[in-house]
Structure formats: structure tokens, C-alpha cells
Amino acid sequence: MAILETMDLEQRAGAAVLLSKVSLSVEKGEIFVVIGPTGAGKTTLLRLINLLDRPTAGDIIFDGQKITDPSCDTVKARRRMAMVFQKPAVFNNTVYENVAYPLKVRGAHGKTEKSAVHQLLETIGLGGYARRKAKTLSGGEAQRVALARAVVVKPDLLLLDEPTANLDPVNVKMIEELVMRFNRERGLTVIMSTHDMQQAQRVANRIGVLMNGQLVQVGRPGDIFYSPDNARIAGFVGMRNMFRGYIVRNEAGIAVINIGGRDIQTVSDLPVESAVEIYIRPEDVVLAMTAASSSARNNLRCSITSLSSIGPLCTVTVDCGFPLEVLVTDKSVVEMGLSQGQELYASFKASAVRVLPSMPR
């Protein structure tokens, strides 16, 4: 059951269109992640849902109620949600008072609630901090306080606007784990925005891609990362090997595509002569010394043009008529003795190539 739906939501600021025809549906109990580059409209969308701003057009339905209706009680609707902002914001008061604030404005601050606040502080790892001044906390601690303040009233919907954008890796991990824990233990529905693809993959049940104010693709993490709908999304989610070509022939769904003079076998139903864009994920390509060692349909003779190590992995760029990036482990680089100028084979399956019809430009 959808707990939140937006219908043709639109937000303009003067001539600028911040959001355009955004229609999405979030299911009860899921973690829905909105990804998109900076300025895509993620914050605008979450602020509209939290009723902090009013949309110029469109509606928001929250638990069956049209909350964008002028007759709707804004405060009442807002009290069923909670939001954490990108910049950790704390009241200039004690940590306890910060977390207890939502209870106090609701006039619900009895003994049970007090102990709930203390328990929550334990959960976020700030057990002994109740009387500390919130302003003296680090960014990560302040953001955890903001998260505790958001969930203390057991909302039906938690909105997180790039909650970890300014935090160190340890705090990023803590916040993610807390969010997933609240989601799991309390069935809390979460809408979170981020520009971090890996984070989206880690926490999301479903992902919506927001670009230039438009919701361009919604799907499960795998759908977005392995089958992006267009070149912009592919570029944004980190698809690096993108090439243009045309279909030379198509035999029973196995389309042969000419890329820079080389034939690549792919899986596609597009007709011969179609102009296409193809993507090959760097981790789907295998390097081998001989052509026969792989069952993949594509075995391209190539030479290494560069190697660059990133942590435990190494990006190897090979020239096979076109520059192809390949991701291998540092260990393999040493074992295979890979070096610049070396001749070898790059192989990948026909099904590993994502084929999209070329967009008119």
C-alpha cells in the first residue's frame, strides 16, 4: 500500500523550474532513495513533502489524505512525519532538550517519554551526552541527534535530505545502519535523498533518479545501475564505457554492433542499421592472455594503455579499437604481471552489453 504519492508535482521559483511533473509512489515500510546530482531538485521535493514549502502545481497524498489541500491541517499532517536536513541543525540547548523537542511541542512529555529519549540516546551512541550542549557536538554526533529527534515521536514517514553529505565515513556508516535499523525494527517508511550511488545501493529498496527536476527512472537498485534508461543516467550512475555505433546484423536477438571498426556481439532486438549507444560496465570485462580461455562471445585483442590503482582495485584502460576501461583487483595486476603496452584479450559476454537506441541530439 502506498503511504505517500505525489501527483504531477511542480515547483517554480520565478522563471526557473525546480521540479517538473514529479509523480512517485512510496510503499509503506520501504526505503525509497532519491538520487540525482546537486541541483536536481532533491531538497525541493523533500521540503514539499514535509509541507515546508508549497508546490506551484500538483498534489501530495499522504496515507490517503490530500495534504496539499488548503483546508488540510498542515501541523497535524506534519506531525506524522519527520525530517533530517543535510546541514546538521541543533537547537542551542542540551542534547536531551533537542531530542525531546518534538515531544514537548506535542504536549507529550511524561515519564514514559523521558525514558524513551534516554533509551534513544543510548541507541545512537550518545548515552552519556544528555546534558551536553548540543552546539559542542561534532557534525556526525549532531546529525545523529537530529536523527533521534526525528524518530522520537515514531513518525509514519521519515524524510532524510542527504543526511550524510558532510560526514566522515564512520558517521556515514552509523547513520546508514541506524536508518536501516529503524526501518527494520519499526517498519518505518523512509524517503532519503543522496548523490552517492554506492549509498543508494547500500540502503535502498527502490530508487528514483531525479535529474533537472524530473523523475527520469524509478526501479530497484539493480535496474538503475545495470540498466539505466538513458545516457545521462548511465553517466550519473558511473557507467564509464559508453560507445556509439550501429547494428550491422541481427540474428535471433544477437545483434552485432560496429564500434570504431570492431564488431561487438550484444543482445538486442533493434533492427539492422539502428544507431545505438552501448555501455559496458568495467567490472564485467575480463582480461586474459589468450582468446580461448573465456566462454564470452566477445574476445577483443587489445593493448594496455594505462593502469591506475584505486584502493584494492585497479582501472586498466585498454585499446581495442576504442578505449575500454576494465576493473581488476590489484592482486590480479601483480599475478598477471600487467604493464603498459602489453598485448592481451578483453572478453565480455554479449549479455553484459547494455544497448540503447541512440537519442536524437
Binding site: V75, R78, A82, K87, A89, Y101, V105, A146, R149
Partner: protein, 229 residues
């Protein structure tokens, strides 16, 4: 320079010996200016909030006018109030002339611009994120405004201390409206003015030191109270 040292010694003497007249004058100063700041605060903090939280055309102009009146001369205030409450003025029938009430009226008018303007500045100094955080925490508009005011409390108390300082240290309005009547409207500043004219510079200076001490004690007390919250 000899006078300053003597004045310091005399000031300490007057305080330690609990000189009845000095104590009475000091308490009256404290009382009159305390009333002024309290009345002004009850009026100015909501007014500052009203101006800050509402968008209307000419808001900038209003704020500029308020800030211009920071430099309102005390004698001009004295004169204006005088015209209203003197026997022939529109409020002459209330017989307020040369009463402590008249002095309070003058001081309130004097500090209204400072207190209102500084309240607006204090509220504008609060991060917008506080409003968003309060609202998304479920606060009503009124509760969110209160949260913002609470966030600005240090600056607002600073404005109160400044307003109190302006009230207790002014002499123009107090002299013109109170008349420096002994035992009735004589306060520290009018007494200093009188003793200077009489030529008792040491007493005048001693009273000046007492006045500054009072301002200091008030300021420190307020800050200590503030630290608790």
C-alpha cells in the same frame, strides 16, 4: 587627577556606610529604569517579532527608520513628552508632570527604537534551519517563533542590557520630566548633574561610580541567569 582617587574612596565609603540618601537615589534609579526596560520589553520584543516574521512592502524602510531613531537625543524625547503632559498639553489633566511616571514614559520612548531594532537583528541572526527544524519537528507557527526567539536569547538579553544602560544613564528626559525633586524624582544622573553644578565634584564622581557599578551588576546577573538556560 586627585579627584578621581578621592571619588573612588568616597564611593566605597558611601556604599559601605549605606548612606541613606545615596541608597535611596540608587534604588530609585534602578526602579525607574527597571520599570522602563520592562514596559519597553513587553512592547518591543513582540513588535520586533511581528516585523521580523512578516513580509510586507516597505519592511526595509521601517527597519531603517527604527535604526535612525537609535540616536534619538534624550532632550528631544524630554521635550516631546513635556509638550504632551505639561499642564497645557493634551494629557495635562493626568498631572504626570514632575512625577517618576513621567520619567518612565520618557525612558520607554527613548529605548523603544533600540530594543525593537536589536530584537529584529537578533531574530535575523538565527539560522533559517532552526525554523525548518522546529516546523518539521511538529511545532505550530507560534511554537516555531518561540523556538527562534529562544535561539536568539543571548542577543535579545544583550539588547535588554543595552536598553537598560541607555535608560539608567540618560539625564535629559529625567531632568525635564522629573524635575530632580529630592526624595521623589531625584535619580543618580540628575543628582550627578546637580552636584557638579554645586561644585562637589568628588560626590558627583562617586555617584557616577555607583551608577556604573549598578549597570555592571545588572549585566553580570543577566549573563549568569542566561548561562543556566
Amino acid at each position: 587627577m586627585q579627584e578621581i582617587w578621592q571619588a573612588l574612596v568616597q564611593a566605597v565609603n558611601l556604599i559601605v556606610s549605606l548612606d541613606p540618601e545615596v541608597i535611596q537615589i540608587s534604588l530609585r534609579s534602578l526602579y525607574i529604569s527597571g520599570c522602563s526596560i520592562l514596559i519597553a520589553a513587553l512592547f518591543c520584543i513582540p513588535l520586533g517579532g511581528l516585523i521580523h516574521f512578516h513580509d510586507f512592502s516597505g519592511k526595509r524602510v521601517v527597519i531603517n527608520i527604527i535604526q535612525t531613531f537609535y540616536s534619538l537625543p534624550t532632550v528631544v524625547v524630554g521635550l516631546m513628552v513635556f509638550l504632551f503632559i505639561s499642564r497645557s498639553g493634551p494629557l495635562g489633566g493626568l498631572e504626570l508632570m514632575f512625577t517618576p511616571t513621567a520619567v518612565v514614559i520618557g525612558q520607554v520612548i527613548l529605548i523603544i527604537p533600540v530594543l525593537t531594532g536589536m530584537t529584529i537583528s537578533a531574530l535575523s541572526g538565527v539560522d533559517r534551519a532552526i525554523r525548518d527544524t522546529a516546523l518539521s519537528s511538529g511545532a505550530s507557527n507560534a511554537q516555531a517563533m518561540w523556538a527562534i526567539l529562544f535561539e536568539a536569547r543571548f542577543a535579545v538579553v544583550g539588547a535588554l542590557i543595552l536598553g537598560f544602560g541607555r535608560a539608567i544613564s540618560e539625564v535629559g528626559a529625567a531632568l525635564m520630566l522629573g524635575g530632580n525633586i529630592r526624595g521623589y524624582t531625584r535619580i543618580l544622573t540628575t543628582a550627578i548633574s546637580l552636584e557638579t553644578q554645586r561644585g562637589d565634584l568628588v560626590l558627583a564622581l562617586a555617584l557616577g561610580i555607583i551608577l556604573i557599578s549598578i549597570a555592571m551588576v545588572v549585566s553580570i546577573t543577566m549573563n549568569i541567569l542566561l548561562q543556566r538556560y
